[in-house]
Every structure is written in C-alpha cells, then in structure tokens.
C-alpha cells in the first residue's frame, strides 16, 4: 500500500440493488473506498446518489429483501463483514463500528431514558454490570459536552434539545470505543449555530480518541471544514475522490466542478446569477453502461454514452490513494482523456 498504514475499513466493488415491482434499482454500483486509521473521510452527494445506502449496506442495516448486496467485499481489519453471520455482524455493529444518524429524534427511543440508551451498548457488548455501565455512561455524556451529566441520565429524549440529542447519539456511538464511526448527515437536521457546536465537538473528540470517521453530507461547506479526504458520489458511483485541499482546489469531474460553482458564498464574491446544473439526477433503473452524469454534462462526447468511465488516478499514486476521477474527459487538457 502506498503510504504504509493498513486501512481499518476497506470496501471493494460494493454493489447494492433494490428489487422493486418496477424492476431493479441499482443504488450502489461497484463502490470502492478505504479508510485509514484516524482519518476523516467525507462522502458528498445529492439525495439518491447512493451515499447512505453504501454505508447501510456495508453493515447490514438495509431491509433484505427488497435490498440485495450483489457483490463486493468489506474488510474490517481482516474479516469480510459481508460474509459473516447475522449474530457475528451484531457483535460488530455498535462495538467496532459506531453509527450516528441524521435525525436524533427518530433514532432515540422515546420511552427509555437517555441513560438507559447510553448504557445499552456497554451492557450488551462490553459485558459491564449496571454500576460500571452507569459510571461509564456518565463519563461519555460528559465527554460529549452534556452539562450536569449524572442528573440528565434520568431524562427522556424529549427533554433534550436537538443539538443535545445529537450529542447523546454521539455518546452512544462512541460507547464501545469503535474503530470506525459512520456519521450519516449528523448535522443536517440542526441549525447552523448548533451545527457549528457539533462540528467543534467532533473535531475535539477526534484528537482525543483518534477513531476513523466516515462523514456523509450534502453540504460541501461542512466537508471543507472537517474532512481529510473527500469522496464525491453521483448516480450510485464514486465519481471523484481525493485529499480535501486538492479536491477543492483542483476539481476534475465535471459534476464536482459544477457543484462547487452552484453554491453561493457567504464571504467571497457575490455572483449576479447562480450557475446551474441543468436537468435532473438519474433514475438508476439499469446497470449503468454509460456515464451517469452524461445527460447533464457540458463536456460529454460520444464515448460517454457507450462506456461507463472507470476511476483513473490523477498524478502519481495508484487508484484509491491519491486523487482519482471517473471521467472520460480530461479537465487539465480540456479534451477527451487518452
């Protein structure tokens, strides 16, 4: 491997299909990525781009049927977690991979106290007794910045505000000291000032605990502030991937380039007219034989319609380590890629 460290999570060629009455929906098409220890990988894409489904399918959280993971392997350490049994997978979820979902109101159980829910993974995975679990849960709530943690243990989710609930979710996800934390749009349901609080918290926790994080979002601004590496998804595929500074400075895929231009800025120059990406996101009816972005792409040419572009590296490093893009068009030369 290019830079030594063995990835904690290595996903190769993941393919997820939803079987519906109207035919198969190819939600995730041969998605490959990896996560190095202590790294924060940002996953960006619009709704329907397959970013959440990718993460859900790799830890078996999708209802099957209708979902079906057709191909791929997901290596967590040395085990392929797509191959292991449901009981074994249960020992991975919450223990080795923590999860934070978008909406903290619907992901916390309203009829149990917050303390109870933070203690659950500790009792279940770590085999702690009640007293130990209680003490650890108070520690965790304290860690995520909930004031007066010991007393708030007895409160129910509805007694917490949105930002505080998301802190509780983070405490639960961190309870068993996981190797990987997957955060699926963790700040989307929150206001900007609360979002800023949560982002600061995650930054702080990373330096303290050093786990690897996958952060899913549609907000490129959030990604710019926290990620080490960014993966852009479109139409169920990874279209571009690279280190955050590199990707924002030198976006290669026409979709990434257009996306960065459509967002108005709060501080920079104000555009008199917003740039738009014409058209609609694709409906993923068939296994792709063409580039999914082709109908909306300003640079498409004949080859784009007949061949789905594979990911190719930009610069020196091999695919998956440096900056790579899935496009037949070459942004640097402004013409087709040889």
């Amino acid at each position: 491997m290019a830079d030594g460290a063995k990835p904690v999570l290595d996903v190769r060629g993941l393919q997820t299909v939803f079987r519906t009455r109207g035919g198969d929906i190819h939600a995730v098409n041969s998605v490959s990525f990896h996560l190095k220890p202590g790294e924060l990988l940002g996953v960006v894409g619009e709704s329907g781009s397959g970013k959440s489904v990718t993460m859900m399918s790799l830890i078996g959280l999708l209802p099957m049927p209708p979902a079906e993971v057709r191909a791929g392997e997901v290596l967590l350490g040395d085990t392929d977690i797509l191959k292991i049994s449901a009981e074994e997978l249960q020992k991975v979820r919450g223990r080795r991979i923590g999860f934070v979902f978008q909406d903290p109101m619907t992901s916390l159980n309203p009829v149990f106290t917050v303390g109870n829910q933070v203690m659950e993974p500790l009792r279940w995975h770590m085999g702690m007794n009640k007293k130990q679990a209680f003490a650890r849960a108070v520690e965790l709530l304290d860690l995520v910045g909930i004031p007066d943690a010991a007393r708030r243990m007895k409160d129910y989710p509805h007694q917490f505000s949105g930002g505080m609930r998301q802190r509780v979710m983070i405490a639960i996800a961190l309870a068993c000291d996981p190797e990987v934390l997957i955060a699926d749009e963790p700040t989307t349901a929150l206001d900007v000032t609360i979002q800023a609080q949560i982002i600061e918290l995650v930054k702080e926790l990373r330096t303290k605990l050093g786990m690897a994080i996958v952060w899913i979002t549609h907000d490129l601004g959030v990604i710019a502030g926290i990620a080490d590496r960014v993966m852009v998804m479109y139409g169920g595929q990874v279209v571009e991937q690279g280190p955050v500074a590199e990707l924002f400075a030198n976006p290669q895929h026409p979709y990434t380039r257009a996306l960065l231009k459509t967002i108005p800025s709060v501080t920079g120059e104000r555009e008199t007219r917003l740039k738009v990406i014409e058209g609609q996101p694709p409906i993923l009816g068939a296994a792709p034989s063409a580039c999914p972005f082709m109908p909306r792409c300003a640079h498409s040419f004949a080859r784009c319609a007949v061949e789905n572009p594979p990911r190719r590296p930009i610069g020196r490093a091999e695919v998956g380590w440096g900056h790579d893009v899935a496009c037949h068009w070459d942004a640097r030369s402004g013409g087709p890629h040889a």
């Binding site: 800023a196 601004g221 959030v222 710019a224 709060v266 920079g268 738009v276």
Partner: protein, 360 residues
Amino acid sequence: MLDAMPDPKPATKLVQVKDLKMYFPIHTGLLRRHTGDVKAVDGISFDIMEGETLGLVGESGCGKSTVGRALLRLYELTGGSVTIDGDDIAKLGAEALRKKRPTMQMVFQDPQASLNPRMTVAALIGEPLDEHGGMSATEKLARVYELMDAVGLNRNFANRYPHAFSGGQRQRIGIARALALNPKFIVCDEPIAALDVSIQAQVVNLLEDLQEKFGLTYLFISHDLSMVRHIADRVAVMYLGRIAELSPREPLYAEPLHPYAKALLSAVPEPDPEHEAKRRRIILQGDVPSPSNPPKGCNFCTRCPEVIPMCHEVEPDLLEVRPGRFVACHLVKPETKTPAAGSTGRPEVKEHNQQGEPRI
C-alpha cells in the same frame, strides 16, 4: 462610505409592518385555562419596497415562518398592523380580504405536502383561477399553459399528477400556482429547503427571472444564509421573535453588527478548505430559550458572547445605527460620523445618545 447605499429606485413601500405580534396561547390543566403564550413574533416592524426582495433569516423556532404567514393573514394577528398596497390586512373583513388575496401569494417549503396528489397539474395551477378569475374553460387553459411556460414546465405534462414530477419540478408547480393571479407580493417560505443543491440554484434563478419579468416583491424566508445573500436586497436577521439586525445585504455580510448576526454568519461553513482552516468561529453556547418564557431584557442575553449587565435588564430597541442599517443591541451605538457632520448628522446623533447610552 461603503455601507451608505443610495436608494437605487424611487421606492414606494409596498408592505409596511408595524409592531407585529403573534402569540399562540398555551392552555393547561383540566379546565384548559389560558396560562401563557408562545410569543412567536414579539413586536417587529419593517417595510418592503416595491420590487425588492427582503430576506428573512434565523434559526428554526425564531418565528420567521410565522411572520410570513401573519403577513398574509393566515393567522389572526395578536397585535400590530400589516399594510400591503394600501390596505391594513389585519383589519380587513372576510369579503374584502378575499378580494385582496390575489395581490398576495405564498410559495411553500414542501412541494410534496402542499400539492394535492389527486389533482393534475392543470387543475392545480387552474384552481386559483377558478376561485378568483371567472374565466371560461378555454381562457383558463390558455392561462395555465402560459404559466407553465413561465416557470419552465413542459406543456405536455399538464395532465400528469404531482407524483410524476421531481422535487424541483413540483416547486415550479407551486410557483406557477402562486403566480396565477398576477400577485404583487409573494412570501417564499423556505422554497428551496427541501431541494438538492444542484436543483436549488435552478429554482432561485427562476424566482429572480420572474421577479424581473413581472415586477414582483418577495419576502424570502430561509435559513440558508448564502442563498439569501444571493437573492435578497436587504436582510432581516431574526432571533426569538424579534429582529436583531436589518441591513442591506452587502454591509451585513461584510460586517455584521449585532452579536447574533456575527455568530450566525461565522457558523456558516464555506466550501473552501483553506479559508475554513484559517477561520475563527464564534461558537454560541447553549440553545435558543423557549419563546413561551423569553429572558428578561435583550432576548439574546443568555447566549451572547459580548453580554453586559444592562442586557439582562433593558430590552434594546431596533435603531438606525448606520444609514439604512437597523440593529437592536446596547453595544452597537449610532455612528458619530465626523466627515458627514452636515445638517442631518447632528440632530440624529443627539437623539440616539439619549436612548442608546448605557447607564453604567
């Protein structure tokens, strides 16, 4: 100076809001006695000029949507007045109000929820014409087609149902409905919040085109500060039922004056890693207090990083501290501009000193 924006057009005030109050009663106990109020909007005043877009920003629960709805009298106001195009909306009788409705329309946040799934696009867009128009069937269809062209929908889809459209297209149907009666004033209540980033720009550009074409006046309610910067001429920042700052767009984004406006703008993440790394964020502590029990004095005093003792006692008034910029904060005093100490400068300064000087 930079923020001395000369008025570009000989503006007439289309909408005048004076001391608007909107309380929702709380009833508790067995007898459902009236025990308190949720003060969603607590005495705000502003004007919207003809052809202007006023942005209204704030966090959820600050009352921005309530303002939008109260302006069109979708609620019965608790107090204050709203004058749109000469008539006080708050006092109009049922029939007069109905006659007034065509001039003021609304675009809702969620096009999925605001369109009847059992009506075709033609029926949806034609419904306001049935209610107010008195047109013949052929006239109506012609008008529906005209509207569909205006918002960029394909005429061939007139007989389809909303489920057959994507989110952005559904929002276009909602906009066509709002336009059907040639309104002067449209309240856009988070019209792009439910849409994807790449679709948001399409809808915002459409709203701008329509404004230019039909001379519309917008109240654009949003929590997306970057989009508001793009579309609005002036921006009002709301916090807990009151306006914290009301300024022309550029000076507000260049140099926010109210501590809440500062914190809010600094919290918006920018899609630029270099800029993000250098940036110093103001992280507000805690949460927004409940509007049923707002703090005494300035409503931002519980979270304000620059709070002084006076803030807990005295409620600040919304004062014009720079030309065209209104701020409700004890710390922001009207500028005593020496170069501009002409005939108008003097008396203004004196007046504000009496009100704004802290007594500590």
